[in-house]
Symmetry: C2
Subunit: 264 residues, 2 copies
Amino acid sequence: MRIGEIAAAVGLTTRAIRHYHHLGLLPEPARRPNGYREYGLREAIMLARVKRLTELGLGLEEVRDVLADDEGRELAEVLGELDDDLAQQEADIRARRARLAELLRMSREGLLPGDGPVSPGLAELFGRFRPAGSAAAAKDLEHLALFDATADPVQRDRIYLALRRLADDPELATKMGELYARMDDLAHASVDDPRVEALGTDLAAVVPDDLLAVLAHEGRGDSAPSKTAFGDAFLDDFAPAQAAAVRQMLKVLSARTGWAGWTP
Amino acid sequence: MRIGEIAAAVGLTTRAIRHYHHLGLLPEPARRPNGYREYGLREAIMLARVKRLTELGLGLEEVRDVLADDEGRELAEVLGELDDDLAQQEADIRARRARLAELLRMSREGLLPGDGPVSPGLAELFGRFRPAGSAAAAKDLEHLALFDATADPVQRDRIYLALRRLADDPELATKMGELYARMDDLAHASVDDPRVEALGTDLAAVVPDDLLAVLAHEGRGDSAPSKTAFGDAFLDDFAPAQAAAVRQMLKVLSARTGWAGWTP
DNA sequence: AGAAACGTTGCCGCTACGTCAAGGTCAAGC
DNA sequence: GCTTGACCTTGACGTAGCGGCAACGTTTCT
């Protein structure tokens, strides 16, 4: 048989067969005078073996080992490892599919935020805490999404708990709306603007203590793998006057809670 | 932030971030005078987005589309396709794991033939039809394994049914053992040896009719995707005198069944 | 004799980066 | 000033399992 015939017979491509030759998985057969490879039933049997093994998911290296290591002993071992590997993959896929299902559900309900998938906890928060046309509020959500992806789970849940309490209080929620609006007003203001200090102080009155504690933890984190250096970058993300207001808020919070760890 | 800092903060490698720049997934940030990339919170937010999407299993191209195609509309669609894809993968893995479990069980019970995994039907046959130290029998099993991997399922099951009947009849099984032994004796014999014709005739008396029908079907197959050209190669796999015996068997079978399709 | 359908070798491309290699930059300690 | 070490830069190669193409020879059919 020529290579095309055996390929069709066994159900492989000629390219694959030559590839196997190249890898030493299957010895090169004899050649006809014109240079064509000449295959017999032996080669077909070998190829069928290779095919069965690769279809199980073995890599070509492993197939080579199994075929070389004379007669099977190694095979059970390789199959065992393969099964472990596949079990792992299956678990991964299932986890991703679970997340996907959740996201698709949110998407159908119109709850999917514009900046894509987030953790379940944050998604729930987003559900009741939508940006009300405020640029500052939108930015806040982005910061939260970042925090969600980088902070360690303990701190994350701590913040979420605090924020849920905030969101669940209609009075506080209304107040937050006003504060966001005032923050928006500072977008092009000077840092000397008297509204800056006032807003900072008012913010500190609403923001939960946990926020500062978590930020302080983040800034110096020795326990977590996060140890982020977002501190300065965080303030740089605001317009100057807005940043000044945030700094003022932090100052008041520091004085109130006794945390001195975070004073950029 | 420098690239290493943002990488650690977001939980990526510097290499990955540069890769994203290269692919245009994320624009190159401003540079410091020394050439270092300078990152801010905006970039961190984008990277966290990218990370969430890739962790879901999206390809980088798709991530780019989702991020570019302004604001989310496309996202649900992509997620849907992804889920379909993952469902397919999961099904594949499960199927392979099922086969693996079966093979591992056979391996534990010592039923795994030396030439590796075969289809369930053939495995069962192998269980009661072991090579009894005969080279011809061993070769026969190899041929069966090849047949198993290449023939179409209908013909396969037809043969297996016939062989099971043969294997289940103790008298016939004993006879087959003798025939294999006689085949072995012909390994170095001349094609003129009188035992050749005798063996061929005796073989034809035992081998089921279906065998020839299936072989004939294979040789000219217009219906199946198989259409194998094993015919000649099959005979070439035997020693000359053995091949002559097989040919004799086929001749008798042809005469008996009326099939003329397979006369090499 | 020309076209169609084979065969040959060889090299590039695909994913999502990891891993050198060969340097330039910066802060700290001697 | 010099070294050390931890950063950063670009660039290029390697990964698994082939697919696809190029550039060319062989066989076979018409």
